[in-house]
Amino acid sequence: MIASKPIPDGSFRVGVGRQKAWGVQMATAFFFGEAGAGLYFVAQFFDFMSGMVVGLLLVLFGKAGGHALHLGQPLRGWRALTKVRTSWVSRGLAAILLFVVTGALHILDTGLHVLPAVLSPLVAALALAACFVIMVYQGFAMSHSTAITLWSGGLMPVASLTYALLNGVLLTLVLGFDEPFLAQGPETVRLLQVAAVALMLYGLVTVSSLLHGARHASEAGRESVAMLLHGGFARWFVPLVIGAGFVVSALTMLVAPPAFAWMLAVAGLELTGYYAFRVLMFKAGGYDPALSFAYRFRH
């Protein structure tokens, strides 16, 4: 008899190791977190009820669901609240809980006026603050890990915030297209379109800078970027993240007439690019060799 599972090739060699702890489930949770929080954030500025509800549900079911699927022991998930002092994951969970409670209260208050006048702005502000934390904490959770050069650059939280705002603006344009604040305000549509293009350009520069920094930071960073731009992941990263997510969607938004189908197409392109970004950043993350200098310091 022989062992059922052969040892993966390369796992006993000195070299860059690939991270496998965070995969598609975690990427999906991140995707829904930043899409939902971004949508809620933008929708609250316009008192756009449907947007706020959808944003809250995306965070509650999409993000929390993705995390629950990822966890090895999901029933103990509440324990993740116990290390807010040092852990970004813990801070994120606290923000999600605060957001779900205050966001739901704010939505109820907007529709039914259930809160006293003195509490209403406080709850709205708390919901917005918690929402903002969800928009950025995933970037901090990743950049906190100095182990993986591709993630550890300081630009990861900026990328998270940019993507979250961009998702929020585009989803607001789609979901609120027939709502009075957009249907009767072409200048508001134009403003959101300009904001979307600006965020796409900013996002493109942020992602490019992130890759540039990683490439020159370490051996693992160089390999990760090579995989994304020239290696096995290039056929996904370049056309989806860069092409569909930024370039094509920005050009389409610039020339598109303010019609629902066009807004939907741009949002679809951008969200596809963003999901690809989340998955590929996890897939391409790598550890530096623990002792690559073993030979060099001998000689």
Partner: protein, 204 residues
């Protein structure tokens, strides 16, 4: 209180992997899980080619990034410097795995414990006696064989190494063997740029 640490002598390591076998036996590790690995690397160009061996293990870092990243407090450092994982607190989020620069942590997937070495869900007697030590979905790592250390013994890998390439002892004691070796042969920590202050040193 001692601060336990280890020194790897790269001149002595012959890549026999007896340490890995002893570790798996001592800790009843399931198939596919290693607390220590001896990596190999070919260097040079023909005809001057050499193979070097690099033993790796959890470095029990003084500033352990896995501990600060852990959202539940499951990872903690004992007063003697050994970094532990409490399987009753671990939720299996993997944050410690991506925080560890040395890739020394493993999450126990169901198939690792249930499938058995030879497949088909039939566990060997060795696997059956060891399965109670583990909880599916939680993270495991080297503990310097803390039960042996508490009993005054050496970690299994150190006791087994036939060339004495692994030297274990109190890093706070200036007269201990690891401290002497680090001092005399300029011991180096792995990836010092990560600022984790590992308690494992390499000498050559």
């Amino acid at each position: 209180m001692a601060k336990w640490g280890m020194v790897f002598d790269l001149r002595r390591c012959i890549g026999c992997n007896a340490c890995a076998v002893a570790c798996k036996q001592e800790n009843s590790l399931p198939d596919g899980v290693f607390f220590t690995k001896t990596l190999s690397e070919e260097v040079g160009e023909y005809p001057d080619v050499r193979r070097t061996y690099v033993p790796t293990i959890c470095n029990h870092c003084e500033d352990a990034p896995c501990e600060s990243a852990c959202p539940t407090g499951a990872t903690s450092t004992r007063p003697d410097g050994i970094v532990m994982v409490d399987r009753d607190k671990c939720i299996g989020c993997g944050t410690c795995i991506v925080a560890c620069p040395y890739d020394q942590r493993t999450r126990l997937e169901p198939e690792m414990l249930n499938e058995g070495l030879f497949g088909g869900g039939r566990l060997t007697p060795f696997e059956e006696q060891g399965i109670g030590r583990f909880t599916v979905g939680t993270v495991v790592k080297c503990t310097f064989c803390h039960e042996r250390v508490d009993a005054g013994q050496l970690p299994a890998c150190v006791a087994t190494c036939p060339t004495e390439a692994r030297i274990f002892g109190d890093l706070d004691d200036p007269h201990s063997r690891p401290r002497q070796l680090i001092r005399e042969r300029h011991g180096r920590q792995p990836l010092p740029e990560k600022n984790t202050n590992p308690r494992v040193f390499y000498i050559d």
